[in-house]
């Protein structure tokens, strides 16, 4: 395993809250991230929500 090639970039498929969190953490710890999203904008299902439980915070 030691001499196998390791590329310092990651592809994340899905730009919802989960994919974005993974992308941020990886970018913040020294990796180049490709975030691939099927639709025209990131945000996923959470961007459609008005408020979130259990705190009733604004979802946006």
């Amino acid at each position: 395993m030691l001499d196998t090639k390791k590329v310092g970039s990651v592809m994340i498929v899905g730009g919802g809250v989960t994919g974005m969190q993974a992308a941020l953490d990886l970018a913040d710890s020294g990796y180049y991230v490709y975030l691939v999203e099927k639709s025209g904008a990131i945000g996923g299902a959470m961007a459609q929500l008005d408020k979130t439980f259990p705190t009733n915070d604004c979802s946006m």
Partner: protein, 943 residues
């Protein structure tokens, strides 16, 4: 990369080549300024996906107002021009930027990456297919996502709840649970979607807020509110908001008359037939894996579960069946936002483990334009008033606020924005700062707690010091709380803007402070969570100290046999212990506890002590709290006095040892929620339903003639665990529901135990003669959690579990920088959730440890040597021990040595207690000088 899909993955872990197909946008992203002229002219209206079909969009559109990137796109299937060359083309004509490109084509990219993370999410179940709820034929039957859009200020009705059929106000609404979940007949989705109970309660509460007097009923089978603070939310919905809960599965919706009213027919808990009429019925639709994601899974070559979610192990919950390909979020099983965010971070940790040698190979740091020196310039204030959709503009007269702001001293520019936080507005603010030569900014919008960092970035992008911005919170402090009085709310908004402008006038440029980071981690607790965190950080290349108070590693997992999916826990724990022990980057301190702490993020110094008085000091940059939880010792149901009444964990042990009482027993009664979901402990212990069901299945497997009863309040076999519940019922395990006010009665009767409970099916009391009674005892927080909390200045919640920084978006961070939480120290949770959170904590920690220095906020106590006379009153009040008194040598020869205070800026949190205490103005908080505060107060009193 938007409008893009993965079509092929080749290569091996560490070195993949991924093929990405990028669909044409037909709009040039570099040219589009999102002015919206195109969409206005576009003649083609289409159902908006974002609004779940409740509203319309055009064929050229942006997904939503705050979309990132905020660039228009053309939907080729609905665009008149793209369907019929030569026709329409209005958008092209009105686009001044010349961004429309009808000749745009699909592009194929080949991208070399070390790892792939699949986070494609879910789709909501479409209830049209089943045809029984009238969805698609009766307009007033809507899905929960549609209701979400109706309730939203950015939705089709701007938050007004009206009936789709006739626009009449809604007075009576019913929610039907488990639509497309826990239902193998109609939709084939046998699993529980985990989130629908909570979202239905939330929507019912919010709908009742929107429409005073609204009657809201939720028809459910089991209330699955198993997450942190969820049961409290349920109780508040029931008690304070008056949401009605009916335990019953509704199998159909019928029209009542011709005016759009709806009829529900059901049998209530007393066995009576009931008919009720509603204005609107909301279907709480479940989550499922979309078809295109199944194709993606096929492309990636990964295995799926029977429920069509990505297959993972409970001990590596983000690892798919292919090395180098990871998964997180709802694709790995239905889950809520916090758990999805945890898994997002966990996937990052797993990737970082794999790619540790390649860290920093391809990444670069963000750069900002050179900062402009404005210290000599007169203040030129720009005020930006946010509508926040209708959140602010629905109450406050924002135009009046805008006009008023323009009259304030030093204000040279004012404008209003629909959403000041959206990306296009950010760019616009940057542009305005440069155009109008603004050097102080007031954002009249929401709370600085969530949004100030964003606006600071905006200032930086404009070449202005990030501290020259002030927020006036005209939403949380104003429009939200003064809904009933728009005139006064508008007046207050003006006051808040005036105060912010007065303060920012005297704002000065501040420089953030940099401190070095000790690249070592300290992990407190040697259970599965702590060991997982330690191992991941070590594999990422960081040195780790693991502190365990007992003499053995393993924690609560040592008492457990199988995870819900049947993985053998002792084997996995033994492997984990082995890896931790043999990893040379991990130093284990068994028999030690943290006894004292000093320092701050990047530079902690923790003293650990053993019982025999040995102490060591550990320097570390981050800390992870994984101290676990305890099992509750019941004092109810005859526990302790009746020998045949035992807890689940005790029962497991007896069962495993094939103890003779169990072998000879024929009748077993499990009692759920022992110590959970009661007045003083209003939380669900999350794991006990599944645990009891598993034990019941085992008992039945050994001898099908055994009578096994489970007395429960709500069966919470959430997610894919539902399969176990189904299996138990098929095997003949008898489930009897009881309510809190009708708890079972347990009494000794010779060699047996009598259990009395009210039977909801037979509608009469039932007496069960049991050979064994097994209590599903609650999980309790560690009794000394708060003591550890005090050392690191991290809070515990009302139940005694550690309190994360934000329930949704920062589920593993503490509000104290550099401290993280994992496992049951945070809340009761099963194995895979503990492991995921532990990995997530490591990922979050690695974002700090991978840097050599950390930049701290510049809002810190600052000494004014001219006024400070070293009285030291501030030293005692400082809660962070950031201030010390020092003797200063004489500045000039022959002068006198004098006392003065010194502030450790890294330790200072900028709370301001020193400033409030100082009688001589010898110390102040940068960004909150006396001048700034007094001018703000004067402005408050000015009218």
């Amino acid at each position: 990369m938007t409008l893009s899909e993965v079509t092929g993955i080749a290569g091996v872990a560490g070195d993949f080549t991924v093929t990405v197909k990028e669909a044409p946008r037909y709009v040039d992203m570099d040219k589009c300024i999102a002015c919206g002229a195109c969409t206005e002219k576009c003649p083609k209206k289409v159902d908006s996906e974002y609004n779940a079909g409740t509203g319309k969009r055009k064929a050229i559109y942006v997904k939503y107002a705050q979309a990132v990137p905020l660039k228009y796109q053309i939907d080729p299937l609905n665009c008149i021009r793209l369907q019929k060359p030569g026709a329409c083309g209005f958008c092209e004509k009105v686009c001044d930027a010349g961004a429309i490109n009808f000749d745009d084509t699909e592009k194929i990219h080949q991208i070399n990456v070390g790892a792939v993370v699949l986070a494609p999410g879910f789709e909501a179940y479409d209830p049209k297919d089943a045809q029984v709820w009238g969805y698609g034929t009766m307009p007033n039957v809507i899905t929960a996502m549609q209701l979400e859009r109706y309730l939203s200020a950015s939705g089709p009705t701007e938050g007004h709840l009206v009936r789709p059929s006739d626009g009449k106000p809604v007075n009576k609404v019913a929610f039907l649970q488990c639509i497309g979940s826990r239902d193998e007949n109609l939709c084939g989705n046998g699993y529980c979607s985990s989130v629908c109970c909570m979202y239905a309660i939330k929507e019912a509460v919010i709908a009742k807020d929107h429409v005073p007097g609204l009657s809201a009923s939720i028809f459910y089978m089991d209330m699955r509110t198993h997450g942190k603070d969820f049961d409290k939310y349920l109780e508040r919905a029931r008690e304070d908001s008056g949401v009605r809960f009916v335990r019953c599965r509704i199998n159909g919706v019928e029209p009542q008359g011709t005016n759009g009213d709806l009829r529900l027919h059901y049998i209530n808990e007393r066995g009576r037939q009931v008919e009720e009429y509603y204005d609107m019925v909301v279907l709480s639709v479940g989550l499922q894996t979309p078809k295109h994601v199944l194709e993606l899974a096929h492309t990636a070559g990964i295995q799926l579960t029977a429920d069509k979610f990505a297959a993972t192990s409970d001990f590596s919950p983000v690892q798919t069946s292919q090395a180098g390909i990871f998964t997180c979020g709802a694709f790995a099983g239905p889950k809520d936002i916090p758990q999805s965010v945890v898994e997002g971070s966990a996937a990052a940790a797993a990737v970082a483990d794999l790619l540790a040698p390649a860290r920093h190979q391809l990444s670069t740091e963000a750069t900002f334009p050179t900062e402009k020196d404005v210290s000599g310039d007169d203040p030129r204030i720009g005020v930006f008033v946010c509508h926040c959709g209708s959140n602010i503009a629905g109450v406050v007269d924002v135009k009046a606020v805008e006009d008023y702001a323009a009259t304030l001293p030093n204000v040279v520019y004012v404008e209003r924005n629909l959403f000041s936080c959206s990306q296009d507005t950010q760019e616009q603010i940057t542009k305005r700062i440069q155009e109008k030569d603004l050097n102080r900014i007031v954002i009249a919008a929401c709370t600085p707690r969530t949004h100030e960092p964003l606006f600071r970035e905006t200032l930086k992008a404009a070449g202005l010091n990030e501290y020259l911005v002030e927020m006036a919170n005209i939403r949380n402090h104003n429009s939200w709380v003064h809904v009933a009085d728009p005139a006064k709310a508008t007046a207050k908004a003006k006051d808040l803007v005036r105060m912010a402008a007065a303060k920012v006038t005297f704002g000065t440029s501040l420089k953030p402070i940099s401190v070095p980071i000790t690249q070592k981690g300290l992990i407190i607790g040697g259970g599965v969570a702590g060991m997982t965190s330690a191992l991941n950080l070590a594999e990422q290349g960081f040195e780790v100290h693991l502190v365990e108070r007992t003499e053995i590693l393993g924690g609560n997992a040592l008492y457990l046999k199988h995870t819900w999916s049947g993985e053998h826990i002792p084997t996995q724990v033994a492997k984990l212990v082995d890896k931790v022990v043999w990893n040379d980057k991990i130093t284990i301190h068994k028999g030690f506890e943290v006894s004292a702490v000093e320092g701050f993020v990047g530079n902690f110094k923790s003293t650990i002590s053993s019982k025999d008085g040995v102490s060591k000091v550990i320097e570390h940059g981050i800390g992870i709290v994984a101290t676990g939880a305890n099992i509750y010792t019941p004092d109810e149901y005859g526990y302790g006095s009746i020998k045949r009444v035992v807890t689940s964990i005790e029962f497991d042990k007896l069962h495993e040892l094939k103890e003779k009482t169990i072998k000879a027993s024929h009748s077993f009664v499990f009692i759920q929620c022992v110590g959970s979901r009661e007045t003083d402990h209003m939380y669900c212990s999350k794991v006990c339903c599944t645990h009891s069901v598993q034990s019941a299945i085992e008992l039945k497997q050994e001898d099908p003639s055994r009578n096994v009863y489970i007395l429960y309040r709500d069966m919470r076999t959430y997610g894919q665990r539902e399969a176990l519940y189904r299996q138990a019922r098929k095997m003949g395990v008898i489930f009897i529901n009881y309510e809190l006010h009708g708890k079972p009665l347990v009494s000794e009767n010779g060699p047996q135990v009598d259990v009395e409970v009210w039977d909801h099916v037979l509608h009469r009391p039932l007496k069960i003669k049991a050979d064994m009674v097994i209590l599903a005892a609650a999980i309790r927080p560690k009794s000394d959690a708060a003591d550890l909390g005090k050392l690191y200045k991290i809070p515990v919640d009302g139940d005694g579990f550690f309190q994360e920084a934000h329930a949704k978006l920062r589920p593993v961070d503490f509000s104290t920088d550099g401290m993280f939480v994992a496992g049951m120290a945070h809340y009761p949770k099963p194995m895979e959730e503990s492991v995921a959170q532990a990995l997530a904590a490591s990922a979050r920690a690695a974002t700090l440890l991978s840097k050599f220095e950390v930049s701290l906020d510049a809002v810190k106590a600052t000494v004014d040597p001219e006024y400070c006379d070293g009285c030291a009153l501030c030293v005692d009040v400082c809660p962070y021990n950031a201030i010390t008194l020092v003797i200063k040598e004489a500045a000039v020869e022959g002068g006198q040595a004098h006392k003065i205070i010194e502030v450790n800026k890294a330790q200072c949190k900028g709370c301001g207690l020193c400033q409030g205490t100082c009688p001589k103005r010898g110390v102040y908080i940068a960004g909150f000088t006396m001048k700034q505060i007094s001018s703000q107060i004067q402005a408050a009193l000015a009218v």
